[in-house]
C-alpha cells in the first residue's frame, strides 16, 4: 500500500515536472540553446503568482495564463535583444551568455524578494482526497491536471498551428525554412517566449505546492536537465516520459534514502545517462 502511495505521489509530482521541463526542452531542441535562465524564470512566475494572491487575491490556478503571458513577453524580449545575436555560435558562447543573464536575473530576484521562503497558503485550504486508501492532496491533483493540460496544449500548438509548424520547420532546417518565407529570428523569439511562458505557468502551479525562494531556481534547472536527457531531446511525449519517470524515481528514492538525497540521485542519474545513453529512454526524435 505504501508503494502505491509512493507511486501516486511520484506520478502527481511527475506531471508538474513535465510542465517544468517542457519549456526548457523546446528551447534546447529548437534553438539549440541551453537556457540556464529556465529555473529563474519558473521562480519568477512563482513570485508573480504569490504576489497576485497576496495582494490581489487572485487564485494561483487562475493566474496561470497571466503568468504565462507575462513570462512570454519577457522571454520574447530576452531572445530578441540578447540571444538572437549569438545564434549558431559555439556552445561555450551561448551557454556563457545564458549563464550571465541568469546571474543577473537571479541576483535581481534576491535583491527584490530576499532569499526567504514564501508560500502560497490557499484559504480556504483545498484538503485531500482519499482514493481507496491513497491520500492525494487536492491542490496537487489540480496542479497535475493543469500541468498536463498545458503540456498537451503546447503539443497541439506545435502540431496544429501555423506558428507551431514554423517552429518545427526552423528546427529541422533553418535555411530551408527561411527560403519558405519564415522569419527565423521572430520564430526564435516566439519559441523562447513559449518556453518562458511554460516556465511561468509551471511556476504558478509550483507556488501552490512548494515554498518558493530564488534559491530553488538551480534545483529546478537541474531537474529540467535530467528530465530532458531522460526522455530524449526533441519531443513533447519524451518530456512527459522523462517528467513522470523522474517524479517516480524521486518519490521512491525519498522513501529509501530520505528526501535530502533527491538532488544527488537525479544528478548521478544524469551523469550515468550521459555516459551510457545520452539519447534517453525514447531516443532522439525531432519535434513533430
Amino acid at each position: 500500500m505504501l508503494y502505491v502511495q509512493v507511486l501516486v505521489n511520484g506520478l502527481v509530482l511527475g506531471g508538474l515536472y513535465s510542465c517544468i521541463a517542457v519549456g526548457f526542452s523546446l528551447v534546447w531542441g529548437v534553438l539549440n540553446v541551453i537556457n540556464i535562465l529556465h529555473g529563474s524564470l519558473i521562480i519568477l512566475g512563482s513570485y508573480a503568482a504569490f504576489f497576485a494572491y497576496q495582494y490581489l487575491h487572485i487564485n494561483p490556478f487562475l493566474f496561470v495564463p497571466v503568468a504565462a503571458l507575462l513570462l512570454f513577453c519577457l522571454g520574447y524580449a530576452i531572445q530578441l535583444v540578447f540571444i538572437n545575436r549569438v545564434m549558431g555560435s559555439a556552445v561555450l558562447i551561448t551557454l556563457t551568455l545564458t549563464f550571465g543573464l541568469n546571474l543577473l536575473l537571479y541576483n535581481l530576484m534576491i535583491l527584490a524578494f530576499k532569499a526567504d521562503f514564501r508560500k502560497v497558503t490557499l484559504s480556504p485550504p483545498l484538503g485531500s482526497l482519499n482514493l481507496a486508501g491513497v491520500i492525494v492532496p487536492v491542490d496537487r491533483v489540480i496542479s497535475m491536471g493543469f500541468a498536463l493540460a498545458l503540456v498537451g496544449l503546447l503539443y497541439a500548438l506545435l502540431r496544429g498551428s501555423r506558428i507551431g509548424r514554423a517552429i518545427v520547420a526552423v528546427r529541422m532546417d533553418r535555411e530551408a525554412a527561411q527560403l519558405m518565407g519564415v522569419n527565423v529570428s521572430r520564430i526564435y523569439a516566439i519559441t523562447f517566449g513559449l518556453g518562458a511562458a511554460m516556465a511561468g505557468a509551471a511556476g504558478s502551479l509550483f507556488s501552490v505546492m512548494f515554498p518558493i525562494s530564488p534559491e530553488t531556481a538551480n534545483a529546478l534547472l537541474g531537474k529540467a536537465f535530467v528530465i530532458c536527457v531522460l526522455g530524449g531531446l526533441g519531443s513533447v511525449p519524451g518530456v512527459m516520459v522523462g517528467g513522470l519517470t523522474l517524479g517516480i524515481i524521486e518519490s521512491y528514492s525519498a522513501l529509501f534514502f530520505g528526501p535530502e538525497f533527491s538532488v544527488t540521485i537525479s544528478f548521478t542519474l544524469l551523469i550515468l545517462l550521459l555516459m551510457f545513453r545520452p539519447t534517453g529512454i525514447m531516443g532522439r526524435r525531432g519535434y513533430q
Binding site: W28, N32, I34, F82, N84, R85, V86, M87, G88, S89, A90, V91, L92, I93, L95, T96, L97, F99, G100, L101, N102, L103, L104, L105, Y106, N107, L108, L111, Q178, V184, S185, Y188, G222, F225, V229, F261, V263, T264, F267, T268, L270, I271, L274, M275, P278
Partner: protein
C-alpha cells in the same frame, strides 16, 4: 620589447612580498590563483575546444582532499601535491567517461559533476565535516610570513601552469588539440588518438585547479562545500579566458588580471549585487567583445566558423 616587459613583470612578482603590504599581497595572491585557474581551463576549453564547466569540481575536490589529508597529519606541501594527484586521477577517469560527449552534453555533464561532488562532500560528515565545513590546522607562522608563503605557493602554481601552457602550445599535444578543436572527425582520420589527447588536456585542466584548491584551503583555514564547489569557480575562469584570448598562451593571465582589477575596484563595494554585476559583465563580454580585448569589435569572433552566420 615584450621580452623586457615580461622579464620585468616576473622580477616584480618575485620580489613583491618584500615591496608590498599584506593587502596588496592578498590581491596578488588571488590574481595568481585566478591565472592558474584560467590557464588550466584553457587546456580543455581553449586548445581542445571542449566547453568544460568542471573547474569548480576540481577546485573543490582538491581543497577537500588536501584539507582532509592535513587534518590527518600530512604536512601541508605534501597534502597539496597529493591533493593534486587525486584530482588528476579523478579527472582521468571522469574524462574517459564523458569526453566522448560533445557540445552541450559534455558541458552539462561537466557542470553537474561539481554538484554531485558537493552533495557527496556534504553527506560524508565524518570525513569532511559535511555542511559545517572543515577546519584546517593553523600554521605557526606570523601573519606577514603566512601571506608570503601562500603568495609564493600560488606563484609557483601559476608559473608552472604558464610554463606548461607555453610548452603544450608549441608541441605535438597542442597541435593535435588544435586539430581536434577545428574538426574532430578530420583529426581522427589524420591518425590522432583523440580520446587520449582530450583526456590529457582534461587532466591538465584539473590538476592546476586541484592544487590551487589545496593551497586555497590552507590559506583560508576553513572551507565548506558551498564555498569551494561554487559554480562561479567554473564560470569565472571561462570569463577570464574569453577576456584575454581563448586558446592563446597568455590569454588566461591577461584575463585574470583584468577580471581581478574589475572585481577589486568595482565590486568590492557592491557586496549585495556582486554576482549580478558579474552577470552584466559576462553578457556584455559575449555580445560586444567576442574576441576578448585583443580583437575588440572588428574581426569575426573566433568561434564563428567561416560560413556560419548569426540568425538574420
Amino acid at each position: 620589447m615584450m621580452r623586457v616587459l615580461a622579464f620585468a613583470a616576473a622580477v616584480v612578482l618575485v620580489l613583491l612580498p618584500a615591496l608590498a603590504d599584506n593587502y596588496v599581497l592578498r590581491v596578488a595572491t588571488t590574481m595568481l590563483m585566478y591565472s592558474a585557474l584560467a590557464l588550466g581551463w584553457n587546456f580543455i576549453g581553449g586548445f581542445a575546444g571542449y566547453p568544460s564547466f568542471a573547474t569548480a569540481a576540481f577546485f573543490g575536490l582538491g581543497a577537500y582532499a588536501s584539507g582532509v589529508l592535513q587534518t590527518m597529519g600530512v604536512p601541508m606541501p605534501a597534502a597539496w601535491a597529493l591533493g593534486g594527484a587525486i584530482v588528476a586521477l579523478f579527472a582521468a577517469a571522469l574524462g574517459r567517461a564523458i569526453l566522448h560527449l560533445r557540445g552541450h552534453y559534455f558541458a552539462i555533464a561537466s557542470l553537474v559533476v561539481a554538484e554531485v561532488l558537493r552533495e557527496i562532500t556534504n553527506s560524508a560528515t565524518d570525513l569532511t565535516g559535511g555542511g559545517m565545513g572543515l577546519n584546517l590546522p593553523v600554521l605557526s607562522l606570523d601573519v606577514t610570513n603566512q601571506a608570503r608563503l601562500f603568495y609564493y605557493a600560488m606563484f609557483i602554481a601559476a608559473a608552472v601552469a604558464l610554463a606548461t601552457t607555453a610548452f603544450v602550445a608549441h608541441n605535438r599535444l597542442g597541435f593535435g588539440l588544435r586539430c581536434i578543436q577545428q574538426n574532430e572527425d578530420a583529426a581522427i582520420m589524420l591518425g590522432i588518438n583523440t580520446l587520449r589527447y582530450k583526456v590529457v588536456a582534461f587532466v591538465l585542466s584539473a590538476v592546476f585547479p586541484g592544487v590551487c584548491g589545496g593551497i586555497y584551503a590552507s590559506w583560508v583555514n576553513y572551507i565548506d562545500p558551498t564555498d569551494v564547489y561554487d559554480v562561479l569557480l567554473s564560470v569565472k575562469p571561462i570569463v577570464m579566458v574569453l577576456l584575454g584570448g581563448v586558446g592563446t598562451v597568455m590569454g588566461g593571465v591577461y584575463g585574470a588580471i583584468l577580471f581581478l582589477l574589475m572585481e577589486e575596484l568595482v565590486w568590492r563595494n557592491l557586496l549585495q549585487f556582486h554576482a549580478g554585476l558579474l552577470g552584466i559583465i559576462v553578457v556584455c563580454l559575449v555580445l560586444f567583445l567576442p574576441n576578448g580585448l585583443r580583437g575588440a569589435g572588428w574581426a569575426k569572433p573566433w568561434w564563428r566558423r567561416r560560413t556560419e552566420e548569426a540568425a538574420p
